[in-house]
């Protein structure tokens, strides 16, 4: 029992360490990537003992600044809820990571460790439940601030969540139908199968339409440009108008954490998670017949590296999209959600069902 506890704690520690650091790193990536896109240089002045490291220390400086700033609760605000809201946001963004499998089974001695913090057989449902609960932080922030603009931001977040969660869920139904499970670890394992002996059966190949719907809806889920209507700095400032100091920082952190969650989800569901093409648990089996045998530890580490790289690429692409597109107008957003993505994902389910029925009937 004790061993299980220790293993789980270590796993949770690794995941939290990686997620929080990556979220901090995102501030740097955001600054530098946008700078490169816009022919600028980006923040590069913060230094420690003369070392600047391309402005890496600006994230740290920001956090120090936020911690030392005055924490203001507006006079008319509901003190308890106002304080609770950012914690809600960060909490639900962080617990989501528990359901994501970031590697295959690690075998130490006679103990088999699943590289997934919480090995839930309904991990997909769990993750989406947590992501949806995350919006409560935003709604509470808008509601408890006693500020009309914050309330507008909160309402927009709610409306946006409703119209996108549905498309998101229905798009994923296709994936669930293809792999026949809602256990994320099993979904990833199923993606290791080969089509025709050489093409890995990744979700992007079996469910390309669902992938596009998922990415669009997932971007809306993260509340970042082009779907940053709850924030909308240029029109309503958003649900965090009345927040200052680290509480504001926590909302900011939530945005980045959700981006990472969504990137990991896209990797897990559509790009084979920790799968490396042609890598089986005992080593590489290339389609032309070469076999390279590998020990279990190397195999697992390769899987973790594969998962991380794919996730980082998704983060990069999401960031690029964020700096390419302008914000949607509210009616355009609703149109896209209800008249665009929703019907597409429904049609996708029908087509998937028919194709699956035909394939199984043929068998």
């Amino acid at each position: 029992m004790m061993e299980v506890l220790i293993i789980k704690t270590v796993l949770a520690g690794i995941v939290f360490f990686a997620a929080l650091n990556l979220a901090g790193f995102h501030t740097w990536v955001e600054r530098k990537q946008s700078a490169l896109i816009q022919d600028r240089i980006g923040a590069n002045r913060a230094e420690i003992f003369g070392f600047r490291f391309l402005g890496m220390f600006h994230g740290m400086a920001d956090v120090l600044k936020m911690f030392t700033k005055e924490d203001i609760v507006p006079a008319g605000a509901d003190r308890a809820l106002h304080t609770l809201a950012p914690f809600f946001s960060v909490f639900f963004a962080l617990v989501t990571f528990a359901g994501i499998p970031f590697g295959d089974r690690l075998i130490i001695g006679d103990r088999v460790i699943e590289l997934q913090v919480a090995h839930i057989d309904a991990a997909l449902l769990y993750i989406f439940a947590m992501l949806s609960l995350g919006v409560y932080g935003v709604i509470l922030a808008g509601f408890a601030s006693r500020n009309n603009y914050a309330l507008l931001g909160g309402l927009r977040a709610t409306a946006q969540m409703i119209s996108y969660e549905i498309a998101l869920g229905i798009a994923l139904l296709g994936v669930i139908m293809v792999y026949g499970t809602i256990d994320l670890a099993e979904i990833v394992r199923a993606q290791g199968r080969m089509i025709g002996g050489w093409l890995p059966m990744w979700g992007i190949l079996t469910q390309p339409v669902a992938f596009f719907v998922f990415v669009t809806a997932a971007l809306a889920e993260t509340k970042r440009v082009p779907f940053d209507l709850p924030e909308g700095e240029s029109e309503i400032i958003g649900y965090f108008v009345e927040y200052s100091g680290m509480k504001f920082g926590m909302f900011f952190l939530t945005d980045f954490l959700e981006t990472i969650v969504v990137a990991s989800l896209a990797t897990t569901l559509f790009f084979g998670g920790w799968q490396v093409p042609w890598l089986m648990p005992d080593g590489f089996h290339f389609p032309w017949g070469t076999v390279v045998l590998l020990p279990n530890l190397v195999y697992v580490l390769l899987g973790v590296a594969s998962f991380s790289i794919k996730g980082l690429i998704f983060c990069f692409v999401f960031m690029q999209v964020r700096w390419t597109l302008p914000r949607f107008r509210y009616d355009q957003l609703m149109n896209l959600g209800w008249k665009g993505l929703f019907p597409i994902s429904v049609v996708n389910i029908v087509v998937t069902a028919v194709v699956l029925a035909l394939l199984r009937g043929a068998r």
Binding site: L36, I37, Q320, T324, L325
Partner: protein, 209 residues
Amino acid sequence: MGVTVKVVRRRELTFWEKLYVPQIVCGLKITFTHFFRNLFVHMAHQFGRLKNRSAAATIQFPEEMRPLMSRYRSRHRLTLREDHTPRCVGCMLCETVCPAKCITIVPGEHPDPNVEKYPVRFDIDLGVCVYCGYCVEVCPEDAIRMDTGILDVAAYSREAMRLDIHELMNPAMRKPIRECNLTFPHKCQLSGGQMKGSWDGIARHAVPH
């Protein structure tokens, strides 16, 4: 009187544009091109290559200066004669023309009979100056110019924004001025009110025996 009206029709979006995705891909193409081109040029700069191409439009200000036009009006200076005395003859034209009234001149009698006066004090309060350049235009002796290229005039007090004659004659000099080494007699308040320099050289040079 017929009013000509030009009707501007909003162009309908084509089907291709309404699909969103192709247009998004076009946008991503632009941002990716910029991203990777600039990344490549930045890396090349690190290895000392492609120095003739810039990866960013940024001018890193305190270290780098934007090139100024030759007629740009920057901080003032007083021009000098060959013997390093100010060219100014204390005619008060600039003080008179100054719309901001930021120039204060106290003229004194010059030992050279060919030169009527010289400025004992010549102060410009940059906190008040509007950089109109009238003082430069009005000067009959070409004694004041605004061509130092100094733009970052900043100080912690209003008093420190007042340039005295030392700073105006030597653009490199900034407050606090520790030593006053003028080659003409001037009551320097910064060096304890002592007279610096001497009349002798000027008088010998200017007045024939």
